[in-house]
């Protein structure tokens, strides 16, 4: 019998369809962070759960082929640096760290609220990737290795 990674075909099929919906929903939550409940962290968690869904259904090897883990590490660090960068631009433009330097727009529009949507997107990317990488790193520990005593 061929040993197959991941769960059964039913779970795989459902995951294949639903994971994109999960991603879209997470992105929606991130982009409407300044208007509705949610925001960068909530949406990021949803995106991370989407990744984890694939991870659980398809297994470790598939994830290695599907995603470039090194790139995800880079993305995580980059979004953090950009976050600090926006803060520093705030100092340069208006004198306060993370101060708003864009037009605030009209209330209740998607593109409004100055830098807040940008920051939400960066937080979303950071959280979504970081949370997935935490579970990924935990799964890399081999429980039987490296015993002492």
């Amino acid at each position: 019998m061929k040993s197959q990674e991941g769960m059964t075909i039913i779970v795989k099929t459902v995951t294949r369809i639903s994971v994109w919906l999960i991603f879209v929903y997470g992105i929606y939550i991130i982009f409407h962070g300044h208007l509705t409940p949610g925001g960068g962290f909530g949406g990021g968690v949803i995106i991370a759960l989407g990744f984890l869904n694939v991870f659980l259904a398809y297994g470790k090897e598939y994830i290695k082929k599907w995603l470039n883990i090194g790139l995800l590490h880079d993305l995580e660090a980059t979004s953090a640096i950009l976050f600090v960068g926006i803060g520093i631009i705030g100092i340069a433009m208006t004198g306060g760290f993370l101060a708003n330097f864009l037009s605030k727009g009209t209330l209740f529009r998607l593109f409004s609220a100055g830098t807040i949507p940008l920051l939400n997107i960066l937080i979303g990317a950071k959280v979504g990737v970081a949370l997935f990488l935490v579970v990924w790193s935990l799964s890399l520990f081999h429980i039987d290795e490296g015993g002492e005593q």
Binding site: T36, P37, L107, L138, F141, G147, Q149
Partner: protein, 112 residues
């Protein structure tokens, strides 16, 4: 008032778990319970009777809102707890690698 007392009991349940349980994973869970009790405390402080959620929307009539600041604090503290829990889980996994057990009475190479 009863809510505050229940919340305090939840905190004590968590503390009891941390202090008496012998399993690493149960200790981590108890810490989470303690954290949630603290978060619940903050939310309760912000609560007002007959108030709505603190989100400005186009159609809503102006009503009394609950205090949004503790909710922001709770969000932050949830993120922190997430990080700490992940850290603790990683440490527990590594401890299991080294000692082959989750039982803290058997993990004692450091005394005192």
């Amino acid at each position: 008032m009863i809510l505050y007392i229940l919340c305090f009991i939840l905190l004590l349940v968590g503390l009891y778990g941390v202090l008496t349980k012998k399993d690493l994973i149960k200790i981590i869970l108890s810490l989470s319970i303690m954290g949630y009790a603290a978060n619940l405390f903050l939310i309760l402080f912000a609560y007002k009777n007959d108030a709505i959620f603190p989100i400005l929307s186009e159609s809503a009539v102006q009503e009394a809102m609950v205090d949004p600041l503790p909710q922001a604090l709770v969000l932050t503290s949830i993120v922190i707890e997430l990080g700490i829990t992940a850290m603790l889980v990683a440490l527990a996994v590594r401890l299991y690698q080294k000692y082959k057990t989750f039982d803290i009475t058997k993990i004692r190479s450091l005394s005192g």
